[in-house]
Amino acid sequence: MNLTLKIWRQKDANDKGKMVDYPITGIEPDMSFLEMLDVLNEALINKGEEPVAFDHDCREGICGMCSLYINGEAHGPDRGVTTCQLHMRMFNDGDTIYIEPFRAAAFPVIKDLVVDRSAFDRIQHAGGFISVNTSGNTIDANAIPVNKHDADTAFDAATCIGCGACVASCKNSSAMLFVGAKVSQFALLPQGKVEATDRVLNMVKQMDEEGFGNCTNTGACEVECPKGISLENIARMNREYLKAAFKG
């Protein structure tokens, strides 16, 4: 396959940045999207140019480090996958592909396609945990049975990989799918109920401080989420938040 890539290049956070064209040849349909970028980078290095910076690590769709906004979609045109699991067979010979970073005020660009998603970490610092110390004498794991449906729903929420596709896809740059998933996981489990009030208030407060927008129920986040995190998690977070707000 021969392709034309239009890639966002930005030297650092202070640079203005621009789209640059790169023709590329000899791409095989079995390559992953990131392997296609590896081929480009190898060619750039050999020509003495700077390779394109992008985040990636596990390359099996679970670490959440890869990002990329491809032809106007977070993680590209395939569904239920991250960019590292997107394969070139999804494209046609002769295609032009636009590659941009995830864009949001709360995700500043570090370089080229690499963005700073540490706002997600800070939201978790504010309350994304159950306050239990490590000790050798916690109660037995089977001492509290958990309804299977609740356990499975908590698990579904917990499969969020924290990639930020929801934020990048949202016209408001809202992080409510991400925060809702964490709030839901703990709200559904008996262990998490004790701190439920503080957790949701603290996490939402931090989310707002980081500059994420609000949810207007468009649902783009759910469509683009590589892990299929459901919008129900946002509804559950809203209920938790209301409950907590009334409690004060």
Binding site: D30, M65, Q85, K148, A154, F155, Q191
Partner: protein, 670 residues
């Protein structure tokens, strides 16, 4: 220095309790005066950093990723073992200990493994308390599944994403401490040296990967939870960033490196599809519960398949060679990983590989689909002779069990594994070798600790499935936080460690010089060019099957490649910016040293044990003819290498392994 494992005296089952009762503690007020650096935030590093902070120490934690949650523990699929005996099937601490020592082919330290088994149950309790959503049964209690090489069901799991859920548990504990200010987290930072002052590890030199800044960080002790070195093979199931650099720098500062040649090559991975391949993807071992592994019996069928004239489903039952069932009737498709991998290689080397490169075998779910389909039809009172219905019902069962893995396979290979067999081939997955540690998990450098996959301690020459997660969390939650107190109790009056010492100066200069050399080298080949070459040497000569001639060649070739690297590598960009190529260059430079030591260690160990298979050491007759032959008389020891400049000059120290509670036997799966 003599190698003293500092294993406590007394009966096996009492050692850990006695040891905890007798070691020194640091009182809570004094813990506030002590700093600890933890490098790596996977299951081992993340859990250790959180626990040390809960105890009251001041922790600085480092990871090269953009968030601690990205560490590669996250990719573990199948599960975590624990001797809970919830199934009432006869499990116990002793049985988990026994299975682990035997599975490791009797090359691990008894006392460490027993302690691991002993704390395993606490791990599950701890994780559940943190809100880790393990799979449950309808009664609300935790579910278990079985894994290869054992006779009980002791594996806890969260669908095919157990590693992710456990890591998010450790990450949440870490977040709580970051929020309290007890952990200072340094994301996108890479450790580039250990600083040793007056014989003790007192800090690290790190590079800020965003700005390129070189930073000095001091502490009273340094803990490495930096994972394994499988990427020395270039292609592995490790993450792209997984590297040996932290462990290798520790080695260069005096930490012995133990058993580097013990590498696990996992039998069920998606085969290489071309030269562009950047990494390999694992398909969980749990698939072998229902999948049958085969290649065609006849060479003409193999050829027809490769040419696309026949499909695997066209090959009649009698023309298939279910070689694991044929060779190992007792364990069949569930032989341990090392055995299954070698058997696949044997068939492919003989020319029976089923893809275009000749390096793939089939993993076929058709019989399981039939079996489950009939069972479901029977349960539901439907027509058991309706072939289409049976297939549909059977596929539904398989989808419930392995849906996410089948989806992943289809996305990568573009074939539907419900309709046609999967193609699989072995790939490098885990490294049992690592930094040598004593019973307290301290390296040969006082104050420098290694935990999780980074150390060598618990898995011997072969790791059992679902035991890596167990060891990472055992070390980080339950072992290190106790044992480190014994060492730190001598530091309560030391006060803060200055970074203005000649030792910090020297280490920083070293790091700077090396970076300058790399960015100014202006060679002709990229970092990946060298990394791929190294990977080819490793895979061909130090891979699944090794011999003296190939290993000796590998030592020479790696040494020559390293010289070529330093002469000819090309690193674009500058030192003072976000520069992924520069970071990669440093890692590959270290792999080029480790690779040689790896080959040297494999050459010296003239026996076959676990994942290390020497063609010179096989059973020559009897029922076990052709199988791996261990040599307990000459090799029942840990090989710990001391750095002396070039890898070829490394000096061997032996820790003899003593087995008082377990009888050494040949592993037979016939």
């Amino acid at each position: 220095m003599a190698l003293d494992s500092r294993t406590p005296k007394g009966p096996l089952a009492d050692k850990w309790t006695n040891h905890k009762n007798n070691i020194n503690l640091v009182n809570p007020a004094n813990k506030r005066l002590i700093d600890v650096i933890v490098v790596g935030t996977g299951l081992a590093g993340g859990s250790a950093a959180a626990t040390l902070a809960e105890l009251g120490y001041n922790v600085k934690a480092f990871c090269f990723q953009d968030s601690p949650r990205r560490a590669h523990s996250i990719a573990a699929q199948g599960g975590i073992n624990a001797a809970k005996n919830y199934q009432g099937d006869g499990d116990s601490n002793y049985r988990l200990f026994y299975d682990t020592v035997k599975g490791g082919d009797y090359r691990s330290r008894e006392a460490n493994v027993y302690r691991l088994a002993e704390v395993s149950a606490n791990i599950i309790d701890q994780c559940v308390a943190q809100g880790v959503p393990f799979a449950r049964e309808y009664g609300g209690l935790l579910d278990n599944r079985s894994f290869g090489g054992v006779l009980v069901s002791r594996t806890f799991y969260a669908a095919g994403q157990t590693g992710q859920q456990l890591l998010l548990g450790a990450y949440s504990a870490l977040n709580r401490q970051i929020g309290r200010g007890k952990v200072k987290m340094y994301n996108r930072h890479e450790m580039l040296d250990v600083v040793v002052v007056d014989g003790k590890a007192r800090g690290i030199i790190a590079r800020n990967l965003v700005t390129g800044e070189i930073e000095r960080h001091s502490a009273h002790a340094v803990v490495l939870g930096t994972g394994g070195y499988g990427n020395v093979f270039f292609l592995s199931t490790n993450a792209m960033g997984s590297n040996v650099t932290a462990a290798w720098k520790a080695h260069k500062r005096g930490a012995y490196f133990a058993n580097p040649c013990y590498t696990q090559i996992h039998p069920t991975c998606i085969p290489v599809s071309g030269d562009h391949q950047s990494k390999l993807t694992l398909m969980s071992e749990s698939l072998r519960n229902d999948g049958r592994i085969w290649v065609p019996k006849h060479m003409e069928d193999v050829k027809a398949i490769r040419e696309g004239k026949l499909k695997p489903t066209d090959i009649a039952e009698e023309n298939r060679d279910y070689y694991l069932e044929r060779r190992y009737p007792a364990f069949g498709n569930l032989v341990p990983r090392d055995v299954a991998s070698r058997a696949a290689k044997e068939r492919c080397d003989a020319g029976y590989g089923v893809n275009k490169t000749g390096e793939a075998v089939y993993l076929d779910f058709a019989s399981a689909i039939q079996r489950y389909g009939k069972e479901q039809a029977h349960i539901k009172g439907l027509n058991e002779n309706d072939a289409a219905l049976i297939k549909k019902l059977g596929q539904e069962v398989i989808k419930n069990k392995y849906g996410n893995l089948f989806q992943m396979y289809e996305k990568i290979v573009d074939q539907n594994p419900y309709e046609t067999p999967m193609m699989i081939y072995p790939a490098v997955h885990y490294t049992m070798g690592g930094i040598w540690v004593d019973y307290n998990l301290m390296t040969t450098v006082p104050g420098l600790y290694a935990i999780g996959e980074a150390n060598f301690s618990d898995h011997g020459a072969n790791r059992l499935g679902a035991s890596a997660l167990m060891q990472g969390l055992a070390d980080g939650y339950f072992v290190l936080p106790y044992t480190i107190g014994d060492y730190l109790s001598n530091d309560i009056r030391t006060g803060p460690i200055s970074t203005e010492s000649p030792e910090f100066e020297e280490a920083e200069n070293n790091v700077r010089n090396r970076i300058e050399t790399l960015v100014n080298n202006n060679g002709t080949h990229s970092v990946d060019y060298f990394h791929k070459k190294l990977g080819k040497i490793m895979w061909n000569k130090v891979g699944m099957s090794r011999n003296a001639k190939g290993l000796a060649e590998a030592v020479e070739e790696i040494s020559a490649l390293r010289a070529e690297f330093w002469k000819d590598v090309k690193v674009p960009g500058t030192a003072n910016e976000f520069n992924e190529e520069l970071a990669k260059a440093g890692r590959v430079a270290d792999f080029l040293e480790l690779g040689e030591l790896f080959a040297k260690d494999a050459l010296h160990r003239n026996e076959s044990c676990g994942g290390h298979y020497r063609e010179e050491s096989v059973e020559e007759s009897g029922e076990q003819k052709g199988e791996a032959k261990r040599d307990d008389e000459n090799f029942k020891y840990v090989a710990a290498w001391e750095y002396k400049g070039e890898p070829k000059d490394a000096v061997l120290h032996k820790e003899n392994l003593v087995f008082e509670n377990i009888e050494l036997k040949q592993r037979s799966y016939k």
